[in-house]
Symmetry: C2
Subunit: 304 residues, 2 copies
Amino acid sequence: MDITLVEVAPRDGLQNEKRAIATADKIELIHRAAAAGARRIEAVSFVHPDLVPQLADAEAVLAGVRGSDEISYAGLVFNDRGLDRAVAAGVHEINVVVVATDTFSRRNQGCDIEEAVARWERLAERAQQAGLWRTVTLAAAFGCPFEGEVPEARVRELIARVAEAGPQEIALADTIGAGTPDRVRRLVTALTELAPEALPRCHFHNTRNTGYANAVAALEAGVRVLDTSIGGIGGCPFAPAATGNIATEDLLYTLDRMGITTGVDIASTIDTARWLGEVLGAPVPALLGRAGVFPDIAVAQAHR
Amino acid sequence: MDITLVEVAPRDGLQNEKRAIATADKIELIHRAAAAGARRIEAVSFVHPDLVPQLADAEAVLAGVRGSDEISYAGLVFNDRGLDRAVAAGVHEINVVVVATDTFSRRNQGCDIEEAVARWERLAERAQQAGLWRTVTLAAAFGCPFEGEVPEARVRELIARVAEAGPQEIALADTIGAGTPDRVRRLVTALTELAPEALPRCHFHNTRNTGYANAVAALEAGVRVLDTSIGGIGGCPFAPAATGNIATEDLLYTLDRMGITTGVDIASTIDTARWLGEVLGAPVPALLGRAGVFPDIAVAQAHR
């Protein structure tokens, strides 16, 4: 089985950092991810710079990134102005977020669900005209930091609504790491039934040690596109206590051992995570860099 | 669905600690686990005190633990002397380890696989006469820190061998956190087929962020007894880079959300993990204590 990992460290990974990250470091992170084999990279966000100053340098980052026919660069887009910037900067994909609760939606992007869906429809149409790949992400699909439980019926309804604008891909995001494998299976099944034309994609955080089990459940339910973040860094600036994405290298360990191919190299990803820890001034949350890849580590230890 | 969590923090959790843990703290840990609802507790090891000095006070720990008809206390046993101690100390269960590779077996318990199986057979017979519950644990069943890959055929063969002595329970242990969900499913299926008279049990470490996905896979494959450790503490003193068990509270979060009952209370387990971190002088690896239980935390944050 072959699946695609969307590398989100440059965007979701860095957006929550207190420390200012140099544009050159962001560019190097993207280059390192590409060199390790990532073929889809969520590189930037075209959110208003006042809201997420960490990501204000989207144009400079993209200008510094080497082009490649093999790599698709994505940017988050929230409104028309963001789409204008995305088109001008030359991204290949846009990712538009629709949050599954009104409270979180207002805090995250200043509008309720209805308005967010309407924006997505307008952006989808414009992005289609511009020839861009269109992903719509349903955030907080597994739970909301403000409203708590999110009814599955509402997520199903939202899937059907956003599918009408013809996205190539619909992502279910567990923004705060609240989901569990049973709900992942149910919602992924709903996604494939309600939006058969769209690729299903999932985005998990490991806030409560559920992220990797959820990723495995998503694969079992038919998902072939998963978001991961080198080092497991990340979080949402508008969601309290949101912590890191599932780590690219830690998921790769499981995938490699299960014979699921991604084209991404685990050893160079671990190297990049170590480098990223130095850039960020703190070790990354991922475990592979500490534990070592089995059985390589076993063989090394047996011979020492 | 109702499952049993065997609380292993007092034994597997503490055996790898550098800092000396007072007997009184071990007793308090056991009492706290029992108060939270644990009904099976791996309380002590009857390993030779020179080999694992951290656990040398097994008799004193058990003497200090309040008896209860509802709680079964287990001790690890490696040889006849250990069984004598276990019987004298009044444990309800013994757990005998057979390691799946000769190299690790010699380092862990000073004998090869053949001799370990022979010891298990003798101990099983004696423990049966003494009226004790008998578990045999196949350690390193998912990988060895010294020999690397462990052939599944050998694990299946070992299951059949140790089943002959009539254990009530056979546990598959991923001592170094090398396993992945596919292998868990295959080996659990083999276990239920090859030893239909024995309860299947699993023991996972989260060394490479695979532990919780493995636990979910084990449940799906029919396992109803899982080892967990409060706070996710633990490791093996004879296996390099072995880190913590899956955490009781983190697995409980997933189980509670999936409607799988255990009788163990998550809030008091989180409290105990926090206390345990103070005793150990470092925060525990579990994530629930930091993230909070969803949706409780969401509701609390929405109202602040």
